[in-house]
């Protein structure tokens, strides 16, 4: 595994790189330093996007509040006001305005205490601890100073005090931090899908989420017991106190004797059966989409795409509805991608974008991995913080708030983190409230389940079932007698086969092999994700990635005053044969490019379909709700920046 290679690097060396990167880059603000530390702490933690969105937000708001004490022009978020019944008092103390040394000290002490608290139960806390300690100490601070008595003007004590208050706020904010965010009410209705076995196995309710079992134990007589079953992450997250979500957008929706708080209810996703008790074509259309797009993951199929902003981007989906007819206007079912127009010219340079023609199979695999944001990543909310930092660092970017007022490094970072953190936190609460309530099935379960039933296209063909998947030429078919897949004793004849990414069984060496695309038995279909991850451990509807990303794109658009990346182009280079983790590739260097923040967000959304974990109906409501959340969060956050 390539991933192991990284672990084999001498730890000290790796650690030094991280620390150097964080500390000694010129012109980085103290807020940025600690933001880098929390992002690294997230990478050392479990992939829990809800929890990390909250951690990022509380930390950003905490730093913002300390900054307001020294700035004296803006209103704090937590201090001296009632937040959901919690009042954090702060007595005006003689901290000098713009006293940089004191401000840095307060922010550092607060961050240090806060990060220790929120990440000390991480599985890799030792790494995190070393980093937090070394950054704090090399800034010259003393970890043993624990006083919270700030009233005589001690800025270190101020940091300790505010961190303690924010931590205490966190004990009460509905996130259930006390019990490690464990579900108190939710229980899955379906038995786990044992990944080592074919098919969808036992699904009691085809409209509900099915857990995945990563292990199985076989007793003396060959009976199987599922093991390593990650529970649903965050079905009750809607209970968490938000940043700017509006009570008017909140519904309390009851299921299984629990009231799920749902913001921005998008309505139910398509059910498995229609009113005639046959497979619902909307259900089929959406989930089979994912297996069809899985056939685009072959770099050797001679399909070449222009993936520059000239070819992809600039999609308009305002006033869209969530039904199939509307979705058809956006997604390209057989060729993949969306029906966006691209850009004729870069409006910043007034020159056309340079084409970048690459194999579709490289592009799709690279973006599926780039946006996976699973294990060892900073998760989607953290990912958008890295994009914000990328923008802030960009040579052609001026740190102008809304494109108008030029800010210092510190003020820019403080304000941007505060709003982006708030938006990410709200996106998590809204998306996971919806996920918890609708508890909707994932493609791996749905595709295998429909195929287990058979085909619903033609009663005269083999394996007909009114609940089955529909046959589609070149993508979904029946195994016939002469088929390679028929098996030694023709046991597979009549089963459903899919032309799709073939899965991890076809990769024995992740350095040299790629699975490629071909016909496989539908019962063995896998999403294009790490074998240790497969599909995130929560319901699909609505896509968290789409919600986070669209919200973040709106925030960045408003914050910078331009929908375009600086210079009209954002870029990330995925190195040839290095970038992909669980198989070989890409076959050449791939430049991921976006003209606008929304283009990046849309690409992220599509990557989840290629990644095999979201059908279109999960994606689009996420984008639309994300848009609302991002705009609301920006305007709400901005309202703190001026005193009355």
């Amino acid at each position: 595994m390539k991933w192991n290679k990284i672990r084999f690097l001498p730890f000290v060396f790796l650690f030094l790189i991280v620390q150097q990167k964080i500390l000694f880059s010129q012109e980085r603000s103290i807020a940025r330093t600690w933001n880098e530390v929390i992002l690294e702490s997230i990478r050392n933690d479990f992939a829990r996007p809800t929890v990390h969105a909250r951690n990022l937000f509380h930390m950003s708001a905490m730093m913002y509040d300390i900054w307001t004490i020294f700035n004296k022009k803006s209103k704090p978020f937590f201090l001296n006001k009632n937040n959901n019944g919690v009042y954090i008092p702060y007595e005006e103390t003689s901290f000098d305005k713009e006293n940089k040394k004191a401000l840095h000290e307060a922010i550092s002490y607060a961050s240090y205490r806060y990060l220790y608290h929120r990440y000390e139960v991480s599985p890799k806390f030792k790494k995190t601890k070393d980093l937090i300690d070394s950054v704090f100490c090399s800034l010259g601070y003393d970890p043993n100073f624990k006083s919270i008595n700030y009233k005589d003007g001690n800025s270190a004590a101020l940091g300790n005090y505010i961190a303690k208050q924010v931590i205490d706020y966190g004990w009460k904010d509905g996130s259930n931090e006390k019990y490690f965010y464990t579900n108190l009410f939710y229980e899955p209705v379906n038995q786990p899908l044992i990944l080592k076995n074919p098919g969808s196995q036992k699904i009691n309710d085809p409209n509900r989420w099915q857990p995945l079992a990563f292990e199985k134990f076989i007793d003396q007589s060959g009976n199987e017991i599922p093991g390593s079953v990650p529970p649903f992450l965050g079905p009750e997250w809607g209970l968490t106190w938000p940043f700017s979500l509006d009570k008017n957008d909140l519904k309390s929706m009851n299921r299984d004797e629990f009231n799920f708080p749902v913001y921005h209810d998008p309505g139910p996703p398509p059910e498995f059966l229609d009113s005639d008790c046959k497979i619902n074509s909307e259900f089929w259309w959406n989930h089979s989409y994912v297996s069809i797009w899985s056939s685009h993951l072959d770099p050797n199929d001679d399909v070449l795409w222009d993936i520059s902003p000239a070819g992809i981007g600039n999609l308009d989906f305002s006033n869209i509805k969530y039904n199939v007819e509307s979705l058809k206007g956006i997604y390209n079912r057989y060729d993949g991608g969306d029906f966006s127009n691209g850009y004729k010219i870069n409006p910043i340079t007034n020159k056309p974008y340079k084409k970048q023609i690459v194999p579709r199979g490289d592009y799709t695999r690279v973006i599926a991995e780039f946006w996976a944001d699973g294990p060892d990543s900073e998760t989607p909310p953290g990912h958008w913080f890295t994009i914000l930092n990328y923008v802030s660092d960009h040579n052609e970017f001026d740190l102008k708030f809304e494109g108008k007022e030029k800010l210092t490094n510190l003020e820019w970072d403080i304000k941007a983190y505060f709003i982006l953190g708030g938006a990410m936190h709200d996106a998590a609460i809204a998306a996971w409230g919806i996920k918890g309530f609708y508890d909707y099935i994932r493609p791996i379960s749905a595709i295998r389940m429909m195929s287990d039933y058979g085909q619903s296209s033609n009663p005269n063909l083999l394996n007909y079932s009114p609940f089955g998947i529909k046959l589609e030429k070149d993508y979904v078919d029946l195994v016939n007698e002469n088929d390679k897949l028929a098996g030694k004793s023709k046991e597979n004849v009549g089963k459903i086969k899919l032309r799709a990414w073939k899965g991890h069984d076809y990769i024995s060496n992740t350095e040299t092999d790629n699975a490629g695309v071909g016909w496989i038995l539908a019962e063995n279909w896998w999403p294009y994700q790490r074998p240790t991850f497969v599909t995130p451990n929560f319901a699909g509807y609505i896509s968290g990635h789409s919600t986070y990303s669209r919200a973040a794109a709106e925030v960045l658009t408003l914050l910078t005053g331009s929908e375009y990346f600086p210079g009209g182009m954002g870029e990330y280079i995925a190195k040839k044969n290095k970038f992909l983790v669980f198989e070989e590739g890409p076959t050449r260097d791939i430049k991921i490019q976006w003209a606008t923040y929304r283009d990046a967000s849309n690409q992220c959304s599509l990557s989840r379909i290629w990644g095999g974990i979201h059908p279109p109906v999960d994606d689009l409501p996420g984008r639309i709700i994300g848009e609302k959340i991002g705009i609301k969060a920006f305007n709400y956050g901005k309202s703190f920046f001026k005193t009355d």
Partner: protein, 566 residues
């Protein structure tokens, strides 16, 4: 050359010390030689800790299946002597024993033994076995025991796996719970083919045998037991045991019982004591303790020092870690998030093995003021895959100690207990291992039961508390000892009347005190609610506390009670 030998000797002996082993295997030097001789199946065995001769050193009783059960006298010099024969604990007919618990049944000051069995020889010459009654041995006080089950009304023949004692009606006499697995068992004389235990599996257990009814007995003044199993408001399950424990902090003993194959049959059950009314109410669903898994055993301990007891249940794969959120609140299973959710463990020669857990116990092995967790693991005979035991260190979240623990033997582990065999203040661990059914010559050999001495050398402090009940049971089984330390830290322990698996831990409660050299105050609440206090107790001692006959509530207590402050 000689010098070279000397140096290499030095180097090799110095190495283990460097690797910070927390426990040391002292089985041999302690003179212990035991293995549970399994009767071709997965059941048993257990170990009970008690001081049968009241000499201040805790002794061990070990069940051995179809082998000879052993009473080991702790000689006080780090060695044990097998005194089974001289104490009269020998059966004429072969009896297949499983679990064991001890209590002073008749309150004569000497601790008696109760042993569960699954089968016995019909007659001396025959190999044929039938279900057998369980065994009650009364302690005469003169170093001997006399079998008394008939006299005490314990005649039922059942397929029993384990037992526990607790005083449910607070009359001072320990009451008895017996867990039964099968309702009936067809031994070799089955109609269709032979049904011996070797072929027991998921299918045969679920399809061919009905689960057994557990038994509850009320101790009638130390003279007999009355069957009150109708108080167990639940359906029969494949019972592996129960603990008497106060889940809701109302000072009476509730019953948490664990069942095997709970996914398809009766899951685990919590029965809430309605004391002073003699009755129980089933609150399994409300409290979400109705976990349906392959539950093998349960450990009790307040891992987060919030004065509510939490429960860890062993299972195939990681077991649920049921955390008590307070009175009338449902429990939450933290196993996936608290660090104990480990499903596989490094087994023999680096192979990964699915954990099959049996014994579970909470103990503060390193005196750092929080309860750590130990699980004894082992495959299901005749399977021989090697699944080591596991120790988890509590740091708010749990982290597995594994190879540094010194506890990772490859025996077929079952019951385990903690106690202080060498009276040095820290808790040692004993693990019962089963004898493999298959020949182990080429499978790494046989691993017998193990005594592990705690060698975790830090200079932190401890306190042990031994209760001498007068109105309550002799050792205060089920009583709650609570200590108050500086910084508002409170810790509770419950005296074990039998827990997991098929075993019973020490009845002397143990606290790790960290840097504290004294305990501000200590309270003892006996079953029924009578509470007494001590103040200003120095650390690193065994504190013996006699129950006060009359406890006059102070004004302050009245005040607390009036406002219902705990």
């Amino acid at each position: 050359m000689r010098l070279y030998h000397f140096i290499s000797f030095f180097v090799f002996t110095a190495l283990p010390a460097l690797s910070q082993t927390k426990f040391t295997d002292v089985t041999q030097e302690a003179g212990i030689d035991h293995i549970f001789d399994v009767y071709q199946g997965l059941f048993g065995g257990g170990v009970a800790v008690f001081d049968y001769n009241n000499d201040g050193y805790e002794d061990l009783f070990l069940t051995s299946g179809q082998g000879k059960d052993i009473l080991y006298r702790n000689n006080g010099n780090g060695k044990f002597s097998d005194v089974t024969e001289e104490s009269g604990l020998i059966q004429d007919l072969l009896t297949v024993t499983t679990g064991v618990s001890t209590a002073d049944i008749n309150k004569d000051g000497f601790i008696d033994i109760f042993i569960t069995t699954i089968a016995a020889q019909k007659e001396k010459s025959s190999k044929i076995k039938t279900l057998s009654n369980n065994l009650l041995y009364l302690n005469t006080g003169e170093g001997t025991f006399i079998e008394k089950n008939e006299e005490y009304g314990l005649k039922d023949k059942n397929f029993s796996t384990s037992c526990s004692f607790g005083d449910i009606n607070a009359d001072g006499y320990p009451d008895l719970f017996v867990a039964n697995y099968f309702k009936e068992f067809y031994f070799e004389q089955a109609l269709f083919g032979t049904h011996n235990l070797a072929i027991l599996n998921h299918y045969s257990i679920n399809e061919e045998y009905e689960p057994g009814n557990d038994e509850l007995y009320l101790n009638m003044g130390g003279k007999s037991f009355k069957n009150v199993s109708n108080f167990l408001k639940c359906n029969p399950g494949y019972g592996f045991g129960a603990v008497f424990t106060d889940v809701d902090n109302d000072n009476d003993l509730d019953i948490y019982l664990v069942n095997d194959f709970g996914e398809n049959n009766e899951p685990n059950q919590i029965l809430i004591n309605q004391y002073p009314k003699l009755d129980f109410e089933n609150k399994s669903k409300e409290l979400k303790l109705n976990v349906g898994l392959k539950s093998m055993g349960v450990g009790v301990g307040d891992y987060n020092n919030d004065s509510y007891l939490d429960y860890h249940v062993t299972n195939i794969f990681a077991g649920p870690f049921m955390v008590n959120r307070g009175k009338d609140k449902s429990f939450v299973n933290l196993a996936p998030n608290i660090g104990t959710g480990i499903n596989k463990i490094e087994g023999y020669k680096g192979s990964k093995q699915v954990i099959i857990g049996w014994g579970s116990l909470f103990v503060d092995y390193d005196h750092d003021k929080d309860l750590d967790l130990f699980n004894s693991n082992g495959p299901i005979n005749p399977m021989t895959n090697r699944i080591p035991n596991i120790l988890f260190e509590n740091k708010g979240r749990f982290f597995d100690v594994c190879s540094d623990s010194g506890l990772m033997d490859f025996g077929i582990g079952r019951g385990s207990v903690h106690f202080d065999y060498d009276n040095d203040g820290d808790q040692d661990i004993f693990v019962v291992n089963q004898k493999p059914v298959y020949d182990m010559t080429y499978r790494g050999g046989i691993v017998k039961s193990k005594l592990y001495r705690n060698d975790n050398s830090n200079n932190l402090n401890w306190l042990k508390v031994k209760l001498n009940g007068k109105n309550a049971t002799t050792r205060g089984l089920g009583s709650r000892v609570k200590i108050f330390l500086k910084d508002n830290l409170q810790m509770v322990r419950e005296v074990d009347g039998g827990s997991s698996h098929a075993s019973q831990n020490t009845s002397i409660v143990h606290f790790g005190l960290g840097e504290n050299t004294k305990v501000d105050s200590l309270s003892i609440t006996w079953p029924g609610g009578k509470t007494q206090y001590l103040v200003d107790i120095s650390s690193n001692q065994l504190l013996e506390v006699d129950e006060l006959e009359e406890i006059n509530d102070s004004l302050w207590d009245h005040f607390l009670k009036y406002f219902n402050i705990d």
